[in-house]
Subunit: 245 residues, 2 copies
Amino acid sequence: MAIAEHTLDLLVRRLGLHARLTAEDRAALLALPFVLRTTGPSAYLVREGQPSESCAVLVAGFAYRQKLTEQGARQIVGIHIPGEPLDFQNLFLDVADHDLLTLTKAQVAIIPREAVRAIARERPNVAHAILIYTLIEGSIFREWILNVGRRDAKASVAHLLCEFAIRMDVLGVKTGAPYDFPMTQEQIGDCLGLTPVHVSRTLRALAADGLITRVRRQISFPSWPVMRRAASFDAGYLHLSEQRS
Amino acid sequence: MAIAEHTLDLLVRRLGLHARLTAEDRAALLALPFVLRTTGPSAYLVREGQPSESCAVLVAGFAYRQKLTEQGARQIVGIHIPGEPLDFQNLFLDVADHDLLTLTKAQVAIIPREAVRAIARERPNVAHAILIYTLIEGSIFREWILNVGRRDAKASVAHLLCEFAIRMDVLGVKTGAPYDFPMTQEQIGDCLGLTPVHVSRTLRALAADGLITRVRRQISFPSWPVMRRAASFDAGYLHLSEQRS
DNA sequence: CGTTATCTTGACCGTCGTCAAACAGGGTGG
DNA sequence: CCACCCTGTTTGACGACGGTCAAGATAACG
């Protein structure tokens, strides 16, 4: 069907960024069976402790991963933009170790677990692409740890804004241009281990310093180089210009 | 040679924990060529920004991963125990995004990059084992983020001690039994985003609460259940009892 | 046995958390 | 079209967890 041909385009592009995929590999990926699910914001895609029978790929909208302490404090451990596969964790491991939720209203392609396993089994290039993607996710987690552990509120909020902006680049959003940051201040706080109150003060401070301008949740950077320095942001950990191997 | 037969035993056991390896897979892993390197503590195995031509496996001793902010603050983002492969990141990605150092004096098997790539290419089970191991490392990173972001000093130090104890289990160190925690208090602080001074106070407080006893760096838990609760430690994220698939 | 790294302790300070109230702003329904 | 409400954001006063600085005590190591 016509829909299917375009729905997974972004996924193919995303996986093809860092691994060599043949035309056949791409065709096989595009031919994966799936169900398109449309959700509102804050919809659970996976719950911690659940086994998962399917593999989700974000088609439109945004999603995030969270963990909760026993006391109920929330920590967001990662965010996802359209085109990104969300569920390799649960595909190859038995039980989910964290929650996966939509951030905004979103469209998610749900691919049967076995179909993805099969394509990974039969197509070494695809399996390799999955491994590379997983390694890069790992790198992003490590930077996230650094951000939470060793940067003060101003720098870590700035860093989060930078990471999001740069990751949106692959979707064609030019760095520095105004973009809509799809999080509430409470969610920003949960990314960084801060309270919503302090996030508010920090965003305000960043604006006062001239590092960002905001109208509602539209963020833009008057000067990307200046912003980069303030956030001590170095995109190396995203491995964007990695050679394909 | 006799040494080779035993040196990589731990690696084979580690990879075999979560993936089905045939006798041939095991034999191929054990037959990997390597150079054994003996180092003191604080020896760099990989430096951020470097391309890496080899793949390190920890044979004896401990190692850790770190990232630095531009201002020089250090964040430790992971620790490793004997038997663990250290270098899949650098094996399949172009440049290292973080530093890798020995924590104690250690023995490291250095396997040529191409040998590991070859075995992964030719043996799907091994490639799959590598993926699973990478996914579990990802899960540990996520828990680390939670620990740094949303637990106070007492809970996060306790959690770190718990994680280490449980991971040592696979090496035959019984949980709760006294073990030697191979970090200085400064390094513990760098794991958790704390200062060494506060780590000292926190360890003291944990001991005062009867959660731990220590003589030098020997740690033991008078009551594992009580410790578990204080740290709100749930080993699920380590995926230890995962089915092999 | 001396020298250096590590740990401890105390006094003081600052970033960020807490509590609470006021203030948008954007849906929804009358 | 306006009233209403609910979620998010802002602001202020105050408190606390953890940082900083500095000195002294221990322990590791040659």
